[in-house]
Amino acid sequence: MKHLLFLLAVTLMVSCKEDKTAKQEADLVANDAAVTLEVYNFNELEPLLSTQDNKTYVVNFWATWCKPCVKELPYFEKLKSNYQDKNVELLLVSLDFPNKYESKLKPFIKAHNLKSKVVALDDPDMNAWIPKVSEDWSGAIPATLIFNKDRRQFFEKTFTYQALETEVKSFLN
């Protein structure tokens, strides 16, 4: 009998704990509900890499786990705020793993209050789509594509704000 009571007590404790955790998770999800994330495969993303209008597009491939990517993200955000009235559009393409969208990517977007449009690219057949972004891309990130209807240029490198601005300016002239 004593054993049974003990078992009952333990069971209750465990289930209470589980309830709490589940509730915390629910809160977390509710908080992150504000962050909507569009997830594309490459075919769905491709039109966004070749928009033909009067704007200049800056597309950055990144991930929350990629240190140099995270380091340069503020420069892209700064570019967006400084050039939004000059027909420059930013797109941040996250290559985070799908199982990290909820636990890492969405909280990151929220915590850093990213203003640029963020989409996630989930397409494992990388050998098929990397050359379609650029033949010059080895696959290392960060990588950035800048294009308008006249010209496109690909960069497999990290940027300083100044270097990024210089490149973008060359598209505006």
């Binding site: 140099p68 494992p124 990388m126 050998n127 080895s138 290392a140």
Partner: protein, 204 residues
């Protein structure tokens, strides 16, 4: 005349530097090139060179690390490659190319711990001076170079990805490295000698 000579000299210098800069920019091996040997420290404290492997027919050289999620996703598949091909004459040689000051999670101690935890069956070498990976032209982890031993040296036969699905080993359609090594063992041409995959930039 003096001015003309100096303009000529400057143009020559400019042309020359443009040429060398371009060469440097392209960098690294292409399929068919001879790969350099190296002498790098292994996790067991010994140094390893390709020339140590007298009986090997070639090598599966993989630039990889502890801290890159893609590299981690491929760890079990790298172990499987070594288990399958070391006995057939193509051992895996893993090389960690990152600057360990920038990425402390990739330092020798961390490499030793990771190799022990995962049960690496192959050498896991530290490119301490970061002099080997640029010669190969590795840009990211993981980045594979399949070499075949020839009389002239270790010839690069395949450069690229391990397979076509980092997320799910069970969903892989193309086992690029296996196809390459199988072709070499059979004396056939490799169908795809160059593939691409997303990876983590090598930290300098």
């Amino acid at each position: 005349m003096k001015a003309l000579a100096s303009i000529l000299a400057m143009t020559t210098i400019m042309l020359f530097s443009t040429f060398t800069a371009t060469n440097h920019g392209v960098g690294g091996y292409k399929v068919g090139d001879m790969a350099t040997d190296f002498k790098l420290e292994n996790i067991d404290g010994n140094t390893v060179s390709l020339s140590n492997y007298k009986d090997a027919k070639g090598f599966i050289v993989i630039f990889t690390c502890n801290t890159c999620p893609y590299a981690v996703a491929y760890e079990d598949r790298i172990i499987a490659l070594d288990k399958k091909y070391a006995k057939k004459g193509y051992p895996v040689i893993a090389i960690m190319p990152n600057n360990t000051t920038v990425m402390p999670g990739d330092n020798m101690q961390a490499m030793q711990a990771r190799a022990k935890a995962k049960g690496f069956t192959f050498p896991y070498l530290l490119d301490k001076d970061q002099e080997i990976y640029p010669q190969y032209g590795a840009t990211k982890t993981p980045h594979v170079f399949v070499l075949q031993k020839t009389q002239k040296g270790n010839q690069v036969k395949y450069i690229g990805a391990i397979d076509d699905n980092y997320k799910d080993a069970a969903a892989v359609n193309q086992k690029y490295v296996e196809h390459a090594v199988d072709a070499l063992l059979a004396g056939d041409d490799i169908k795809e000698t160059h593939t691409k995959a997303i990876g983590c930039t090598i930290k300098v």
